[in-house]
Amino acid sequence: MDIVFAALSDATRRGMLARLCQGPASIGELGAPYEISKPAVSKHVRVLERAGLLERRRDGRIHRCRMNPQPMQDAGAWIEQTQRFWEDSLGALARYLEDTTPTAADSADDRDPEQHPPNHPTENER
């Protein structure tokens, strides 16, 4: 998973993936929108390939690239799963605190010498 997130952490590579979302492309087409050297484009393509996000096929002298969505779906699923985990947990935390409030508050009041409810007998009345 690390390798997928690392691959996605670069704007150029995300742009290349966005281009591949629209359909297969050559390496030249992938690098066209960016002012970077051919070796730099190849390097980005290799990073995406290693992460399993991009598949390359030789078509004569041209490398055709297409996207493999699986690792990204896995990464998205990881984030979604984690988000759901925490959202549910924080909901449970709020309920836990609500459920335990009355007893905790009561015992805190009992122990608190500063608390003098209006109808509480005072020392003078004894």
Binding site: D2, L8, D10, C21, M67, P69, L93, A94
Partner: protein, 145 residues
């Protein structure tokens, strides 16, 4: 989800309890077993919860269907009444050293809780990080789903 650099998840809640109670709920082993986890049906076992800097935790979740997930990590920072953070990974999955941080702040009798789950604490990756990657990735994931 936020667009902050390196932060992959941020949740904020107002809790109906004073800060010290919330902090105890976040850090005590007995309390963790009560609220940690995706749902009530999930069976939670806190195998370890050594809440001190450098201490480890290991919490097992088993769904009604029998799916088992184990969260493991190490406490990184503990400031009573303020914040607690620990590393987070799923045991048995590729190592991903993510960082969970809870911050609490008094709001009258209530408590403002901010929770972040940062995906990439390690230096090299942070250096390559750019704003908004999560949003971009979400859009991409949606586009290809």
């Amino acid at each position: 989800m936020t667009n902050q650099t390196g932060v992959s998840l941020k949740l904020e809640r107002t809790l109906n309890a004073p800060v010290d109670r919330v902090f105890t709920a976040l850090t005590s082993k007995a309390a963790i077993a009560k609220w940690f986890g995706p749902s009530d049906e999930m069976k939670i076992t806190v195998h370890a919860w050594d809440c001190k800097v450098g201490g480890n935790y290991r919490v097992e979740f088993v769904s009604p269907k029998g799916d088992q997930h184990i969260a493991v990590g190490t406490f990184r920072e503990i400031v009573p009444g303020e914040k607690v953070s620990y590393s987070w990974a799923w045991e048995g999955q590729p190592p991903m050293d993510t960082l969970v941080t809870f911050r609490v702040k008094a709001d009258g009798d209530r408590t403002q809780l901010t929770m972040t789950h940062e995906g990439f604490p390690d230096q090299e990756m942070c250096g390559h990080h750019e704003q908004g990657w999560t949003g971009s990735m979400e859009r991409l994931v949606r586009a290809i789903a």
